[in-house]
Amino acid sequence: MQVPAHVEYERAASVAHALSLLSRPETRVVAGGHSLIPMMKLRLAQPELLVDINGLAELAFIVLDAGQLRIGALARHADLLESEVAGECFPIFHDAERVVADPIVRLWGTVGGSLCQADPSEDLSAAFAAARATAVIRGPDGERAVPVREFHLGPYQTVVGRGELLAEIRVPVRPGTGSAYQKVSRRVGDWSIAAAGAVLTMSGGRIQEAGIGLTAVGAEHFVAAEAEEFLRGRAAGGDVFARAGAIAARGCQPAADQRGPEDFKRHLVAELTTRALRRAAERAAAA
């Protein structure tokens, strides 16, 4: 039987209340809890105080606002998967959410929780990195905006400090953009062996901007920066996406583990990046 160690519990009545509670050391936010509570059972996390933010309805939204898709940190995975506006602007999020855990976990787990957990195998971090999203963090001194590409400091570590709370993620919406996410896992609902997300902004058949996110393969900030650089300004056609995939595969640092050896993971990165880019280009053309 696995039970968490003793912990205190407070329910946040407002964001301001949550922030004041979070100023205490050894305090963790709990929302979906699907990563934190299992970690507490295993003593991998042992907070002294849990701040439950499930009641903060003001953090549970998905809206298109002034050229940005804004996703509240408390939006559930299922909310993002079912959001029509998110699907229209960024099909990559629907692709990714379809393969996050299982339908029951998705009903309760949150978008913000996934980002803050900063698990290297977590799908949304790469998707948001590919889309060049911005994390909005609230703290005692107000609000600060951090690009998702600078949000993660390493496995299970983010820039969210004591007394701060991730409030929302903002994703810039650009015309002519298509996006996609491709994942391979051992079985339904499992973490990625490897996955790739692509966001392409096209102009007259040329790639104006490319975003490539990689999951579970040791890519710095979940990004394939060299492959993005290679694509920028090129015409989409021929073997350009396959070459970008090869660059992405060379640039990441997958670790051999029970999900497979390093060369297999690099092979997956090359193939999944290529497929995600092709799909993103098709969607950009249809947009």
Partner: protein
Amino acid sequence: MTVRVAVNVNGTEYARDVEPRLLLIHFLRDELGLTGSHWGCDTSNCGSCVVWLDAKPVKSCTLLAAMADGHAVRTVEGLEQDGQLDPVQQGFVECHGLQCGFCTPGMMMTARWLLDRNPDPDEAEIREAISGQVCRCTGYENIVRSIRWAAEHGAEHPA
């Protein structure tokens, strides 16, 4: 430290003072004596602990009882109404949807949620809905048939 958990389970109000670390599944089973919900993998993988929190199924081994305070919980004990089995329960009877029965309460709670949202799901939709739940006996075939049975006979056996 204890916290007050006041919760409506299957239409009955309960209130208990519990440790904040108490998981919802243990609250239901050990505090309230509602042992229909099963406690399985402890890691939110197997789904035998699925209950509804308000209108949504959740894995109750990964929720604190404190998080359910002020909310309504529905467990497998709440499916049957006035001696009348829910069509999902009848479907599991008709189609041999269980052998050992361990996964059954969670499977049925998810099935009821699926059918409320989608009264006529095809096989792929049923399999997707229960993809976060594990059955080690049936190979899922009879569970899928049971849920289809419930979809086809729901009108004769109103939930």
